[in-house]
Symmetry: C2
Subunit: 550 residues, 2 copies
């Protein structure tokens, strides 16, 4: 049996666009005499249109698109993902379904059984669990069609189980009794840098456990905060990968399933999938930026370049994702800005070949001072005055964005966002945060990766200087925060690993620092509430991935 896997980049909610993409792939597959073509989870509507799923017309439109697709599947079979109506009057209104289409008709609708509500997933808001498990038969093969979590039910965060067995049922336990010949899994699994290993392991483990080959087809592309890495895989029944699709781009493969799973040649998956953490992160961010701009019809970006590490890394990433002519920067110095910050920024601009403007904001700073003078009489300078500078910069960057249509990209990192070391409506501004899920120590390593692979885009001075917000004379980050190595370790244990203050101190970290940092994290939830969307890169990003009370 000749099978095609179509690893495509869908637009959430753009049914016309997605359907055309699906039909094009079907036509290509037909021209190669394919028997069955497989698309990813919720392919017709893209993963996931959230509350558009609550609009009846939206679901009706999905059915109409399914009809269009059906008409192209007379002499080819296809598996496409879509939301379908639950015909029962009780329970959630929809199913998360895979339509198995052949002879121009939907032969079977298979519904997802294990509906995730963890991390960024909230599918139980929409989808009823399927309890009627069945296999399909096609070309003399018994096939399990499963949807994403149906095949796995553990949730691990960087090797540590947050949750070992998330669901009460295991549909494969039941379906394996029918001795299927093949498992197909269609998914939309968001990227995180340690998720890739988990995913591979789970697929391999299942193939071995049931001694059945698995075809896993994942969505690819960036949809606002979430990035899907693709990397669809075929493993033989010994759990060895025999085909791996590209990571971070669309891919299409045609193969004879009987031959490929018997092939003695298996793939060293670590060579195919990016095995270096920073190479993976880099590729994920680039895709996230590209798709954010493309899918929203944005063209140019604007960034405030401070001379510090974060904005430099952000600019380097934007230049590589969008091309240099689409990236512009503003330098917004005050009297507290050091000359080296300006020089280093100019050097960075030269290396990247991007357009820039320098707007001295000293006059605006003084104008605020004078406007506030009467009201602030008899008060001492404090954080207020530092925040004003950050907000002037934020306002100027937004003005540039409003005037020329450039999209403001946020430059916050996860460490500062975690402890609230940032100004709301100032440096927290932006339409998208692209390094907001990287701790400062990770930003350093990403900077090294970029410099090693892309001609030292970032001047070494910027990487080596002592971190400072330059909002008052001689300010250093370390005045108010512990060293980033210690800070990031505490944050990782508290945020990613859900350890308590006591448990973190027991790991040998300084007691007072741990207490203070945890308080800062909890007390700055109100700032994160109003943060831009953050590209999810880790297994626990702020936003949907970590919901906390205010």
């Amino acid at each position: 049996m000749k099978i095609a896997i179509a690893q495509l980049n869908y637009q959430v909610g753009n049914l016309d666009f997605n359907t055309q993409k699906i039909i094009n792939a079907i036509l290509t597959a037909k021209s190669q005499a394919v028997d069955l073509i497989i698309f990813s989870e919720l392919s017709i509507c893209g993963y996931i249109p959230y509350d558009f799923l609550k609009y009846d017309y939206f679901i009706e439109n999905c059915y109409q698109k399914l009809d269009e697709i059906k008409s192209h599947c007379v002499d080819i079979a296809a598996i496409v993902g879509l939301a379908t109506k639950n015909p029962q009057t009780k329970g959630k209104k929809l199913y998360n379904s895979a339509a198995f289409i052949f002879n121009g008709e939907v032969q079977k609708l298979i519904h997802k059984s294990l509906i995730p509500s963890f991390d960024v997933f909230n599918e139980e808001r929409y989808f009823e669990k399927n309890k009627n498990l069945e296999i399909i038969e096609f070309k003399n093969k018994k096939i399990v069609i499963s949807i994403a979590e149906d095949l796995w039910d553990e949730h691990r965060i960087c090797g540590v189980f947050e949750h070992k067995i998330m669901f009460k049922n295991n549909p494969m336990e039941y379906l394996s009794k029918f001795s299927p010949d093949l498992i197909i899994n269609i998914a939309a699994q968001p990227f995180s840098y340690c998720q890739i290993d988990n995913k591979k392991e789970i697929i391999f483990k299942n193939a071995i456990k049931y001694s059945i080959p698995i075809i896993y087809v994942n969505q690819v592309g960036g949809n606002a905060e979430l990035i899907y890495e693709g990397a669809s895989i075929i493993v033989n029944k010994a759990g060895n990968p025999v085909l791996v699709a590209d990571s971070f781009k669309e891919d299409f493969h045609v193969f004879n399933i009987d031959e490929i799973v018997k092939s003695p040649k298996t793939i060293n998956i670590n060579k195919v999938l990016k095995s270096n953490k920073y190479e993976t992160l880099y590729s994920a961010i680039i895709l996230g930026i590209k798709d954010f701009f493309e899918k929203n019809n944005f063209k140019k970006a604007i960034v405030g370049l401070s001379g510090g590490l974060d904005s430099a890394v952000v600019v380097a990433l934007l230049v590589n994702a969008l091309k240099k002519e689409n990236v512009e920067v503003l330098l917004l110095p005050t009297k507290y800005s050091s000359q080296h910050s300006i020089d280093d920024s100019l050097e960075m601009i030269k290396r990247c070949g991007i357009k820039h403007h320098i707007i001295d904001i000293e006059e605006l700073r003084l104008a605020y001072s004078s406007s506030m003078q009467e009201v602030f009489e008899n008060t001492k300078p404090d954080l207020t005055e530092e925040n004003i500078q950050a907000r002037i910069r934020g306002s100027i960057l937004m003005a540039y964005s409003n005037k020329f249509g450039n999209i403001l990209i946020n430059t916050s990192n996860k460490s500062e966002v975690a402890v609230g070391y940032s100004t709301m409506y100032g440096d927290m501004n932006g339409a998208l945060s692209i390094i907001g899920d990287l701790y400062k120590t990770e930003v350093y390593k990403l900077a090294d990766y970029i410099n090693q692979n892309f001609n030292n885009m970032i001047p070494q001075n910027i990487i080596e200087k002592i971190p400072s917000a330059e909002l008052r004379p001689n300010q250093k980050d370390s005045d108010s925060l512990p060293d980033y190595e210690i800070l990031d370790e505490i944050l990782f244990l508290y945020i990613e690993q859900n350890l308590s203050e006591e448990e973190i101190i027991n790991r040998g970290l300084p007691k007072d620092t741990v207490s203070r940092i945890i308080k800062l994290v909890n007390n700055s939830e109100f700032k994160r509430f109003q943060m831009p969307p953050v590209l999810k890169l880790s297994s626990k990003s702020f936003g949907e991935g970590r919901k906390m009370p205010l």
Copy 2:
């Protein structure tokens, strides 16, 4: 049997505080020879601590608090709500439980069966569904202990069913077979102005259906966006209310259950519960403000008073919630501000007796112009310049907030938030939005309600003037938007009732306007993403209540 209901105002995550409150109520009940005291859902941790539930230490602490409470329940029984561990290795890690305590021990842990994942609820992120239904026996009575949704499974929005039967199972159908004498329901049901009627109806309907009296104990208080109205109810088996606790405040009642449910005297519930929509909304907002300040240890508020309706209503609400000495306002005029805006604001300030400052921002406006001059050369004035004014105001208000600790309260209404008629990092600033879930036409009616009941706090000029943002000469809201009556009708049908563009046009609304407004709503999702928390007042508020893709 003598029963007490304790309708208390908990602090989310503050286990010490909540436990002390629970113990105090138990002591009071004991002194009145009560047999059983009933607290609301998740009373030990407050509803709902979100991902703190993922921290093991947090759950352990809940158990410790339960132990403390137990020790006070030797000669009194109590029902308290808390999260407990699911002892099984499969499935969600927790249950949403009611502990039935007597003789100093937990006699039975009853777990919630119907776990909500709709509107603002996302309990399936944490809680496993209970499948082992049982009743308890106490003082020769068979009692059903149910938790919130266990007793209802429909979701209606202002009379229209968004979802008729949300769950596949109905635990009461099963439990009614044991012929129980009494149903107890402990809940944490957030307020919305049309939810109160639904709730009453559901409780009455259940009592009649099973011919069993119901004791319903609800949480009260504001927790960030969510307000809980309390209004706990006891109905007899004929579905007639025999006791109704206060709305929007703590309440405590002791009664003999056998007598009260047999009493021939039933209550006209519409007289007890606030039956006027704006009286209800007013009370809800006041509680939301009070608790936001109290629970976060905030004292004073700051608002930018523009001379328009929204900020005037916000100030009136704050003055009534926090007292006049805790409300301060800034007038931030430019040359586009009309004299009547300043005069009307000063009149409002006089009537409220609050502190104010006037800071002319014309100089800052010019300073931005001159700073941007070179970069903006050869461009025409557009929205950019209007946004700059809004951001200057936002920055000054935040500076005031930073310097003096006053909390900035947002003044956006739901109509402008819906269509994006607002400036990010400008007038969208604030720690809390208190009228962001009220359409403009509702803000007008609330203003009338306030004036009628609180000595015309708001000058009539402010209510009657033609709405304008005053960001350019002679600007009116109606330059860019349809009349608010039409706008709000379209928005309600699209947002609350999930109708499609076509269906809304079929209701007789103007085609082009409907298309344009729906596009505006969909395209301004990115602005709402970074909005402050909005007090939920309707059955569909922005934020957790309506999740949309960007």
